[in-house]
Subunit: 121 residues, 2 copies
């Protein structure tokens, strides 16, 4: 069963979930997932860089706060609170945090590589 370690299979309370530092100035909290969908809150400090990378998952993200320079498939755009983006599977993408803020990153399927071993089984 998915979410085997949680009291509830559905609800995710922020105060009960780990925040993981996943890069310099980048802090991620997983806030809901099933096999085919995952949502994460990622807090960026100013100047933090999400290096350009690609993965087989689709990604769609929302800028909750702050200001980010986002690159997708070689195209750059400055995004701020309320904006969003979509990254098709295998497209190169990355971001630079211009003003401290939060991205809500979602993936399909779920990023099994984000889960501690055993959490997904």
């Amino acid at each position: 069963m998915y979410h085997a370690n949680r009291a509830s299979p559905a609800f995710v309370l922020a105060r009960e979930e780990d925040i993981e530092t996943v890069g310099e100035g980048i802090h991620r909290q997983i806030l809901g997932y099933g096999p085919d969908l995952m949502i994460c809150r990622v807090r960026f400090e100013k100047g933090a860089v999400g290096q350009v990378h690609a993965h087989p998952h689709s990604q769609s993200s929302y800028v909750e706060s702050g200001r980010f320079l986002v690159t997708i498939d070689g195209e750059e755009r400055e995004l701020s609170a309320g904006d969003g983006f979509y990254v098709a599977p295998q497209l190169d993408h990355g971001s630079v945090c211009l003003e401290p803020g939060v991205l809500i990153d979602t993936f399909s399927p779920a990023r099994e590589d984000f889960l501690p071993e055993g959490k997904s089984s």
Copy 2:
């Protein structure tokens, strides 16, 4: 091509996207999608009710602000800023807005039924 009506296939600027009233006191803006993933910002007025319903899509949501009473498969929980939830396909779910706020709703696959005709082709 997906996003045929957009200047960019990837970036979605909030100020350029329609906000649609989809229920009494419920206002939705689509902020990124591809065939297998969609992210929406949904603003709720106090007392607005997302009736209990089910769909074949997985859903994962994030509470950006406000306070919501969320029901999933008969289980109720009060959620506030920073919390999240996951709804497996075909599970009944709904919400009541206790304090005005915003949910970030994500779906896999994309909710074609949310798109104006022709936008997805």
